[in-house]
Each structure stands twice: as structure tokens, then as C-alpha cells.
Symmetry: D2
Subunit: 315 residues, 4 copies
């Protein structure tokens, strides 16, 4: 729990987010219309943000879920798999660009030790190999922490952080946009408690679930995918994570096109519930990319209703 969450003014709703200030999460938060005017509460760990929501210390939280280069954020995926009370209320895409920053007066040639979060380090290795090929890496818990500490001690000579870091700290930019992949993006989720104001269908929606596979049959993954295919439901993401009890057992984080109020999605979810030993529903929410969500192969709500009416007429 973050101390900040205790002394906030009682009449303000609280948004927790993976901090500290100056990280990419802040840029995601800036996209959340409902968060305008809320008290923002930076926390140190994804689990803390989720706990804030579960205990009511925060009405919502904004956390990263996947990066186009590094993949799923394990801490988020595993934390979401460990509770059934969380729902997703929105998703946000943030371009990931990195700057090399240092204390005023530092030149590039003075940089021997570079502090940053390991993921940021991994995404800037090409630039570092070319421009600072003898540097050492000092791992930090976040890009913002790495930058902030430059002003506290001289353990490092420079830090790799988000461009917005200079809004918060008096630091000099030694190099701009040093990421290896210029199109890198991170996807963030706005989460809240289940059962409160689920987002209504907009026609451009996603639905997220976490599904464990039954262990008693080969081909279980194929069978699971057919639960979607039979109803014309497209997957926009499928990511495996170990269940954790032993090697070879996975749960799958799945995003599909469409809203739980779409008949195709609802029927697929019910099929998964029968099929899977454990399924966690994370909610339906508007897509960040605004594209229409379509269910192929005659699986629109109109066609589902017609089939229902037909079957009723038979009995």
C-alpha cells in the first residue's frame, strides 16, 4: 500500500497507477478521461495497484499489460490471474520512446554507468552498443527512479527514461529517441472492481479472459481455439503464462474482438466455462484502436436471434 493513499482528501476519487511519476504509465493515465480531477496515487508495484482497487483505497488503477517488444508484463498477468474481482474498464496505447538523461554539466563522453529498468535497457541496447560501448548497467526499479536518483547520488552517470521525465526533474537530455524499435508501444489497462458500471457495448470492443487448459487431453489448445472459431470470434491476442505449479502447464491470456453482450462472445465464453478447469473473466471494454469488432460467418446478434427464434418455433 502506498502511504499517499491514506491521507488523500476523502471527497476525491483515487486513481492508483504504477509509478513513480515520470514513467510511461503517467502518459496512459493522461488518456483516461474519467481520471480528470481524480487524485493520482503512484505505487511501486502492479500488485499494489491491484490491492488498492480490491480494498477500495482506489476506485481504479492504471497498469501496463504488454509491450510490443518485451511482451506481456508478467507481474500484471499473474496478478490478474490470482483474483476474480477485477474488471478491465479501458485500454490505452502509449508510444515508447527513450531519452538518455544526465545531471546538468554531464557530456556523453563522461557516461560510464547507465541506470535504468532492465526492460528499458533491453530496448536501447543497439544504441548503447554503438554510442557507449564500454558502459556498465545499473539496474533500477523503474526508468523514473533511475532518473530521480541521478540527483540523489552519483552511483550512475546517466539514466534512460521517458521524455516526460524532464517535466519532473532538472535533468539534461544527452540523446533523444534512442530506442531500438521506433514503433514500440506499451498497452495499459484501466482496472476497477467487478460489478460497477461495466462499459456498455460500443461496436468496437474487446473482451479479455484468462483460461487454463484441461490437462487430460492432447490437443486441448486446439479445442479451446475452436470454441472461438465455431462462433466466429476473432482473437486479437493470445499469450501463455505458466500456471506455476510445474513445468508444462499454462494459462492463456486471451483478448477477443467483441463485447460480452454480443451473442457470439457470450456463447464462446460459456463454451470455455464448460471446457476449462478455470476461467477468469476480465471484462469487456472499448478498443483503443476504435476498429469495428465483427463476428465472421453469420455470427452477428441478428443471426443469433433468428436462430433462437427458429429453435423456439420447433418445440
Amino acid at each position: 500500500m502506498s502511504p499517499a493513499s491514506r491521507n488523500g482528501s476523502a471527497n476525491k476519487k483515487v486513481y492508483s497507477y504504477l509509478g513513480p511519476i515520470g514513467t510511461f504509465t503517467e502518459l496512459a493515465l493522461a488518456q483516461v478521461a474519467e481520471a480528470k480531477g481524480a487524485r493520482l496515487n503512484a505505487v511501486a508495484h502492479v500488485q499494489e495497484a491491484i490491492d488498492d482497487v480490491l480494498t477500495g483505497r482506489a476506485i481504479r488503477a492504471v497498469i501496463p499489460v504488454e509491450n510490443s517488444v518485451e511482451g506481456g508484463v508478467s507481474a500484471t498477468l499473474d496478478a490478474l490471474a490470482a483474483t476474480e474481482n477485477i474488471r478491465i474498464y479501458g485500454e490505452y496505447l502509449v508510444p515508447v520512446t527513450f531519452d538518455l538523461v544526465a545531471r546538468p554539466g554531464t557530456a556523453l563522453k563522461d557516461v560510464h554507468i547507465v541506470a535504468t529498468h532492465p526492460v528499458a535497457y533491453a530496448q536501447t541496447r543497439n544504441w548503447l552498443n554503438k554510442n557507449l560501448n564500454k558502459h556498465a548497467h545499473l539496474p533500477a526499479t523503474s526508468t523514473a527512479a533511475a532518473a530521480a536518483e541521478l540527483l540523489d547520488n552519483d552511483n550512475a552517470d546517466a539514466a534512460i527514461a521517458a521524455p516526460t521525465i524532464t517535466n519532473h526533474y532538472k535533468l539534461k537530455v544527452l540523446a533523444k529517441n534512442i530506442g531500438d524499435n521506433k514503433n514500440a508501444q506499451t498497452r495499459f489497462l484501466q482496472i476497477g472492481l467487478a460489478g460497477k458500471q461495466s462499459p456498455a457495448a460500443t461496436g468496437s470492443d474487446k473482451t479479455s479472459v484468462i483460461v487454463e487448459l484441461p490437462t487430460d487431453r492432447p490437443g486441448a489448445l486446439l479445442e479451446m481455439l475452436e470454441q472461438f472459431a465455431t462462433r466466429g470470434v476473432n482473437l486479437s491476442r493470445i499469450e501463455s503464462r505458466p500456471i506455476g505449479d510445474r513445468l508444462g502447464r499454462y494459462r492463456f491470456n486471451i483478448d477477443v474482438e467483441g463485447h460480452v453482450s454480443d451473442s457470439a462472445v457470450a456463447e464462446a465464453l460459456k463454451g470455455l466455462h464448460r471446457f476449462s478447469p478455470k476461467i477468469i473473466y476480465l471484462g469487456s471494454y472499448p478498443r483503443a484502436d476504435k476498429k469495428k469488432s465483427v463476428h465472421e460467418g453469420n455470427n452477428s446478434n441478428v443471426e443469433f436471434s433468428a436462430a433462437e427464434a427458429w429453435l423456439k418455433s420447433l418445440r
Copy 2:
């Protein structure tokens, strides 16, 4: 229409059946408990029996649908595909055995011309090749008609017919049980109008449909089968018939295990309705073999209800 259907006593319910008397259909009719005491009306063609039901001249009809050696009865399959008002109320299995019969006084060595229905002829060719290898075949519209005509004219010397033929005609049995396949069976259906007293689920049920495939995608048959597989619904029969408009277009006569009141069957049928340009529902009815109908892979009604309740709890 058969003349007999017009002058029956008004207070008796009428069962039409594919006649004439002495055919295998009579043996199926003997298994139909509800037909006890009904007036039995032999007709000359399957279509006639169906028309009797459609117009109300008969409350029910009993017609053959498939033979274990010869396959589907095309006339029945095509007639059922041409109306949406017929339902199946029961199925009956009749062992198919053939006797060679002749006018009294005839010996086997006197037999040169053998009358019978082409299907019966096809099923006794081995015996005929061995025992009457120089005979000629005179086709007849039914095995019973072939036998009856022996007493009207001497176009043929012998006939191949069901053993019960001697209950109706004074004929001599020249050889018993001459069928090539001693386990041959014919399956019969009891049909009636839709909407009247559909058989309730017994736990040992079948459901029959006729499904056309969409023409716009290769792999359509595979897709259709997945509609069943995804819900754990087993097929006990799948038989193709040409749609008739051009080569290469088929409709499929399908029997599945289970009753339309089973959630797995109901959902599969609705899936087919969306998928198929044309589906005809023929009804749910008790299986002749009395075996339990099971839906594999967690697709029982209990599991469907649990999934439904789960989904409701999410919203």
C-alpha cells in the same frame, strides 16, 4: 393418395405405411405401440405416405429410411427434404431376411425367371449366382407385389420376398434366408405432423436434421462438423444426397445423439441455423437401440446451466 384412406371409419386414427401388405414395413409397423388398433393404410410410394400425413388423411406414417446394405432410401430422404412440416416420432429396426417363394408345385429347378424389387435382388445375388446361375430378373415395384403377381400370371416362376409373405399369400417356400448379408437391417421412421406431441427426452434419444452446406467456402463440411464437435454432440449417421440443381451440391442427412431439450443439441442446432443456408429439423425421438445418449467433454445439461449462471453473474 390411396383409395383406402377415404372410406375408413371416421372414428379410427389412420396409420399409412409403405405397402403393399407383406413387405418389411409391416414388420416395423408391428413395433409401433401407438399404432395398435389404428386403421392401417398401405400406400404405393413414400411420397404418398408423407402426403397422407401432411393432408391429415393419416395421423402418422411408417416409412423406410435406410438399409444397412443398400444405404439411404432416396425417396424418403428427398421427400423429407421437401417439406418443413414433418417430424419423426420414432425409429424401428427390422432384420432383413429373404425367402424364395413360388406357386405350389414349383421346384427350384423349374425357376427361370425371378421377380423381385431391385434392392432385394441386389441383396440376394450371391445366392442366386450359386443356385440359379441362369435365371433372368423381372423387376417389381416391391417384394410383396412380386410375390402376389405369381398368383395372377406366370410372367415369373418365383419371387424373392419377406418371410411373412406366406401369411398373406398361398405360396411355397423354395429356399429360406437367402440374403447375402445375414445381419442386414432396415431402419424405419414413424412420422407425423410437426407440433403435435413431440416425444419427450428419455436419455436415449436421437435428433435428426437435414442441412445444406454454404457454397462460398471450401471446408464447409468440416466447419459444419465442428458445430457438433464443439458441443460434444456425436453423429450417429451422416448421409449425403444431391440437392439436385447441379452436380457437386449436397445436403446432409444427419442423426445425432441426444434430444433437442439437451442444451448441447440445442446450441449445435442454433449454430447450424446460422451456418447453413437451409436446415430442416426432423425432430427428437427415442433411439431404437435404447443406448444412453451422452455429450462428451463437459457438455451435459448441468454443465450448460453452470456456464449460463456463471455468465449471468458476470454482468
Copy 3:
């Protein structure tokens, strides 16, 4: 066996065909380029034509295999399933049109008894119901036999036969083109012994097999279809026939696009051989419709060769 086959001139090759002269098979035979100048041998039954090929009495035979209205010709399908030595050398499409013919001097109003083959009768019922609604049907072994017998006896007043019948018999046409379906077609096969001059790939080919399903697993039909789908091989026909030993066991007559020398087809066939308890290969041959046969999804011979070369490079 037909007597004609014994006393033919030894220096001519013999083509057997399902006779008698004047049936639709003759029209198919007229399309067979290789049969020009051959001695044509009409036989009474499909099995006889196949036996002629198997014993060497004929070099080839032409037999009907399916009709767009009536479906598969059971006698042909079952005879092909009973031997492994027959191959298909070509397929031919014949439009099926029917005329009502009678002895010279007969008028339509004089027709009370109509002779024809049951299949032809089934395909002209609409016209008959409208124009001769009180007639009786006299079944015949073929449309040509029905027509020929008009000149032998007066058992029937008219016959339904192919338009070419008047090339062979002095008969009067009472009505032309009386078939219910104006686009009806029958598909014929040219068959011969295995191993002799198999047709080379033309790019517009078909391959035919007969496949039994394993009985020990539900979903076996779906599994069989996946053997084709995985290699991008399209089915142009799938027709079930009972195996005959008991109800519920089927073999499938399958035509696929492509030639056995196409890698996609070859691999699919080998997959079927492993999968199926019994598979009969009927050959690869040019398509009657001349359309290109394509294997979708990167399954051309070029792509198969590239994959083979890649795998070799790995070891």
C-alpha cells in the same frame, strides 16, 4: 458376362458400357476419344462392365457414377469398393433430358401405362402428374429397354427414354424434354485396369478414393477431412455409402481437386492410408469441366519442394 464379348474380332480393343444401346451411357461413350474405332460392348449391369475389365474381356468400360438429381449410382459405388484393381481414366458429363416415346399411331390421350427405369420415372414425375395424372408405371431395367419393348409387346403404351432412342428404334416422340430438372446431368467414368497408362497430370485433374472411417473414435469424419484441409486439398464430392455389415458404418466416396503427382494430394493420400482401416485408390484423371485444380494455402508443388529442401538442409 455379355455374350458379345466372346466372339469379337481379336484385333479390336473392346469398350464395355452399361447398355443397352440408346441409353445415356452411349452419349458418354461418344465423348471418349480413345474409344473411337473400338468395338462397343453393351452390358446389362455395372458389375458386368467391371468384370469385363478385370478379366480382360474389355480394355475399358464406361459406367454412370452419379446423377445430379438422384445421387450416386449405388451399383457403381459398391462395385468399385469391392476391388482394388480398377482405375478411373476419365470422367464425362451428359445432360439428362427425357422424351416420352410411343409406337407410331399412339396419341398422348391413349397413354395409360408408362414404362421406364425407376430413376427416370422419379425425374419426370412432375410432368407426368400434370399431363398423365392417371397413368400406371411399369418398371424397366433401363430406359432403352422400356422403349425397345414397346415394339415387342403392348405391356406399356409409352416409354420415357433418352432423345437418342429414336436413332435406334422407330418410335414416335409424344413429348420432348419432360424432365423435372432441366439442368440434370449424369457423370460417367471411363475405367480400366490399374497400372496401365495412368493419365498424366494436366493441371485440371481430379483424384478419387474410397475411404472407410475408423470406428473407435467419435469425430472420425472430421479428422478425415482435416487430412485434406491441412494440405489445402479441396473436395469436389463426398458421398457416403453403407459398408454393409451393420447400420451406422459408412465408407466415403471422395473426389478431390488435383493429381496424385501433386505433392499436396500425395501427402493427403498417405495421411488417409495411415488414418483409415481401408482406403481404395481409384486414380487421377482430367476433369470434365477443365477448371484448374488449385491447392490453397501455400500447398503448391513449388512450396512442397522448398519445404523438403529446407528440411534436408537442417539435418
Copy 4:
């Protein structure tokens, strides 16, 4: 490149491994029979180990690939996806247990700052929350480095490391076996250059590939899985990783049962080569768990050979 690799005695083969000494990789290395007597070269990053193999500085390398709790090691998966010249020569399972170690004289109550690698930290959080609920975490590049630095400076009071760390450093064990999951395992790979002494089939083998999905069709993952299912090839692992160019594009790290010299595996790989825009073959190697690798559904080498012979006999 690690300095150690330059001054090794020329007559000794070199094994690089993810160091430093005292990490779990050392325990994996101890299982590698071929490494006995080799010079062991600890490197700081997975990429470095792979580079050592690619440039010939090391004959082999041992690197972690997945952990039963944390999932795939992204650095390894991404490095393997970036070259086509690496093959896997063996896999090794190491139980993951953690001890809390400190400078001699330290008591548990004195511990305020705990140094360790973030993954080790994540796997001991339950114990830490219960026993040191006010501690701070100091991230380190490895568990061994965290422990070693305890003797260099007092930035931290204790470190979480593998039990074998005390073989290398004079440290006191404050608590043993503090991992949250007592069955945690890490799986390691022995890698080398392609084309040198690929492991022969043992009957208990695995084959690993990395496969990109085509982007032009929904259901591509399902299609990919059918490439395996059609040949009876079981997946023992499937793990998604972002391709990195944009969100929503994944490559799949797949381990299957069986050896590339098994026909079923070879045909599946060729199928994947046609299907996938990019496939990387990582090799066949003996399974760590010694279980037999079976290809279900009549897909043994014997059945593949029989199918091949059958097809040859047809042409």
C-alpha cells in the same frame, strides 16, 4: 564477449554459461556429461553466451529457457529467434530453491535491505512479506552477484541466492528454502552451432521450433496447431512472444514430442514451413524427463513407411 574466453588453454573446449558462478545455471552445467573437463566460461548475458557459440569462442553454451513460475526467459527466446545457426543439444531441469544469506554476524532482525535478481525476489515475496515485512529490495543483475556484493560493500544487508552460493562465498545462511513454490524448476538448454553432431533419435526426444503466424487469416493459430494434430504430434510447450514490430504480432516457441527423424515430426515441420512466413528450427534432442515420445493415431514411422510404399505401388 567475456575476457575469460580469450586466454583459455587452446587445447580445451569451452562451455559458456550464464554466470556468474554460484547461479542456478551452474547446477544445470553439472548435469551436462559432455562438459566434464571443459573450460567453463561465465558470461553476463544470454546474448553473450549465444555470441560465443556463433563466433566459435565456445563450442557450447548453457542458458536458462523457462522457469515454472516466471515463464519463458525473454532474453533467451528473443536471442534464439534472431539467428538460424543455433541448435539445441540437450535440456536440463534444475529445482529452484532459495536461501537468504548474509555477512557473518548478521541476524535476521538486522535485515532491512535485501538484494537479489527481480525474478528471485518475485518468487520469495510470500516469505519476505511474512518474515521481513518492512524490508526494501535492491535489484541485482543475478542472485550470485547480489550475494557476492555483500562482501564488497554494505549497500544491502542480505541476499537471496541459490543454496550453492555458500560453496563460493563465506556467507551465513539466515533462512533456507524460502521460495513460495517448493516445486519450482528452471529448464536449461545446451546450445551449439547447427550442423555439428546433431543428437540422434533416442525414442525419448523433443524437437523445438519458433514459428511466426501468417497475418492474413483469422484462425491462423488454429491452423498451425492442426499441422501438428494431423500427424499425431503432441506439443509439450507453446509459448508466445511478441515479434516486436507492433502490438498483436506473435511468434510461438514450440516444443513437440519426437525427433526430426520421426516421419510424423518431419512432415509436420515441412507443413509449418509452407504455412509460416518464418520458421526457425532449433533441433531435436533427448528429453530431460526420459519419457517415451509417441505419435498418436497411427503416425509411427512404420505406418508412415507403409503409406509411402502403398502410394508408390499405385503409380
